[in-house]
């Protein structure tokens, strides 16, 4: 079972490798990947350096080119694939059928993984993507453990699941909430709730309001911790109640599911967070390295160590973690 860690920069990539990642995933500095944030990601030189560093350590580099190509700039996506292959990427993480088809035709020997943005949530969809020579599918975070198990037992495709990080509660690649509010979505612009639309207002009584393109996402009392206004994690009113109508600001944490995921033969555990700091990546990687080593050496006697939970809680949104959709009751 592979530990696949995020890197938005060279320092983060080095931190991941030094702390035990088996593979690292990165994106390019443009709209071709779903974490298109200012100051993040690698250019061609950076990508080449990343591949060299990762390979020196006997590890793998995955490159995410996982947004959907625009009609008049398809060239950018093609160039991104060319660039990644030329730099020496081991794996391309793709979502758009057009980009998948290009990679399959042009670089049939390069390993391709189906991005979570392609939203393959069932065995039939996985079957569909086999025509593009996909070697592994990243499952969306909407599935329960039972559903993951059922897919794992019906397909011969390698599966990758999200193990830790920000919790996307909608089927990825099919969520247009962000463009509804701002005009930019993960599919079209590579970002959800983009920072340039965020505004903070402080009232005289100390109440803090977070807005996204002028829509009020949340209101925080002076003693409350205020989180980034990701639009699905705001407090809204339904009927008489004001609450987190869609989801609380919390992080996904599947540590306690590790033995089950291992038994089902899940090929890889993905840590979310290319937008995070090198220090964050280092700590997360260290905990998950220990946890995976532990489950692989004694799958029947695996226990989550308190210290792991402690570290992960400290790195989580709102210091809270959840099993998310893996746990049926969450739904």
């Amino acid at each position: 079972m592979e530990l696949l860690c995020p890197a938005g920069s060279m320092p983060a990539l080095k931190a991941a490798i030094e702390h035990g990642a088996d593979a690292v995933y990165v994106g390019l500095k443009d709209e071709t990947n779903a974490r298109h944030f200012a100051g993040l990601n690698l250019d061609q030189a950076g990508l080449t350096e990343a591949a060299r560093y990762v390979h020196q350590h006997g590890k793998k580099l995955h490159v995410a080119i996982n947004t959907f190509a625009h009609a008049d700039t398809f060239e950018h996506w093609r160039r991104a694939v060319d660039m990644a292959v030329k730099a020496g990427a081991d794996v391309l993480i793709l979502a758009d059928m057009a980009v998948l088809a290009y990679a399959a035709e042009r670089y049939p020997k390069v390993e391709v993984h189906l991005s979570v943005q392609a939203s393959a949530t069932n065995a039939a969809a996985i079957e569909f993507y086999k025509q593009f020579g996909v070697k592994r599918v990243v499952l969306p975070r909407v599935l329960s453990m039972n559903q993951v198990r059922s897919i794992a037992r019906t397909t011969d495709m390698d599966l990758e699941v999200f193990a830790f990080g920000s919790l996307c509660i909608m089927a990825e690649g099919r969520c247009y909430l962000s463009s509804y509010m701002t005009g930019e979505s993960p599919n079209t612009a590579g970002a959800c709730s983009p920072a340039k639309f965020v505004r903070w207002d402080e009232a005289d009584d100390g109440t803090l309001e977070s807005r996204l393109n002028n829509i009020l996402i949340d209101r925080f009392a002076p003693n409350e911790t205020a989180g980034y206004p990701t639009l699905c994690k705001g407090r809204f009113t339904v009927g008489e109640d004001t609450y987190h109508a869609l989801e609380e600001p919390t992080s996904l944490n599947t540590l306690s599911l590790l033995p089950e995921l291992y038994k089902e033969g899940i090929a890889s555990l993905k840590i979310e967070g290319r937008q995070r700091s090198p220090a964050y990546v280092a700590q997360i990687t260290q905990v998950w390295r220990q946890a995976i080593d532990s489950v692989m050496s004694k799958p029947d006697n695996f226990e989550v160590q308190q210290q792991w939970d402690h570290v992960l809680a400290g790195l989580s949104e709102g210091s809270q973690t959840t099993l998310g959709a893996y746990h049926r009751k969450w739904k």
Partner: protein, 292 residues
């Protein structure tokens, strides 16, 4: 320009659905999409009921298309999907790519629904090679995006081999989740939802703390808080869009159908309601309403 009725997105009692399609049969609509596309627990109507209604509508001169589930997770949902794809009589709207291999087996043409990610000419051609005969554009795309896509030589060459359909009236489906938000709004677990969404035939409104309607909850689906309304955009759809889709609403759907028809060439523009939007079509944020 043809007009269609999308599949009913909400959970309505069986009699309400039957009445709605009786009205559809008597209306001027050209194409009707039928089926449960949101939640497999909603079983007021079963597959056989939909087939019966499909035949009734066909006899009334409508083109009928069976519409399939969007978020498919459980093996039981795939078995139900198979039934739709194997119906042998009516064309099918695939709302998840999982439906496509089943439809390819029968070598029947299909409609690629708005939740299938087709954003460019290469994907469009790929889907056509699999049998797609009609493409419903993703709701977040604009007229400008559509025009650019259709202007690509590889699309122009085959433009007479497929139709373009655009979602043009109703609360837009914007997201699907493993979680049921209607059940959550009633403090129920999804497993004990007791199908409470039947109480909300127009979904549940979600407003920001300062009173702006932001979303509508419809089970596992999140819809736009605004009603998308492209009635006044019909003239600039000419030459680009073949089918205009109206999403069934509890009331007023057939009145709107006539208003849309009347304004196809811009002869009878309509006053938009405060809560109407047209932003996506105009390449703006989806919730924006731009006056003409």
């Amino acid at each position: 320009m043809k007009f269609s009725l999308g599949a009913i997105q909400y959970f309505w009692p069986k009699q309400v659905v039957e009445n709605f399609y009786q009205q559809a049969a008597d209306s001027s609509v050209d194409i009707v999409y039928l089926g449960e596309t949101v939640c497999s627990k909603r079983r007021e109507l079963k597959f056989d009921d939909y087939m019966r209604i499909a035949h009734m509508l066909r006899e009334a001169g409508k083109q009928v298309c069976l519409s399939t589930m969007t978020l498919l997770e459980a093996p039981s949902e795939l078995r139900e999907l198979r039934k739709y794809c194997d119906n042998g009589d009516f064309i099918v709207e695939a709302n998840d790519v999982g439906a496509i291999p089943y439809l390819q087996e029968h070598q029947v043409p299909f409609v690629a629904g708005a939740a299938i990610n087709c954003y460019n000419q290469h994907t469009l051609r790929k889907l056509m090679s699999m049998g797609m005969s009609r493409w419903v554009m993703p709701v977040e795309l604009s007229r400008e995006w559509l025009a650019k896509l259709l202007a690509q030589p590889m699309v122009k060459d085959v433009r007479d081999c497929f139709e373009v359909e655009v979602f043009a009236l109703g609360h837009m489906p914007l997201a699907w989740s493993g979680r049921c938000f209607t059940a959550r709004s009633e403090n129920r677990a999804k497993d004990q939802c007791e199908l409470c969404c039947i109480k909300y035939p127009e979904g549940r409104e979600v407003t920001s703390q300062d009173g702006t309607q932001v979303f509508v909850l419809n089970g596992i689906q999140t819809q736009s808080g605004t009603r998308y309304n492209l009635v006044n955009q019909l003239p600039n759809m000419q030459g680009l869009v073949d089918v205009v889709r109206l999403s069934p609403q509890l009331t007023g759907t057939f009145d709107w159908l006539e208003k849309f028809r009347a304004n196809s060439q811009g002869e009878h523009p309509q006053q938009l309601a405060t809560n109407d939007s047209n932003g996506y079509w105009l390449a703006l944020a989806g919730l924006v309403q731009q006056l003409d």
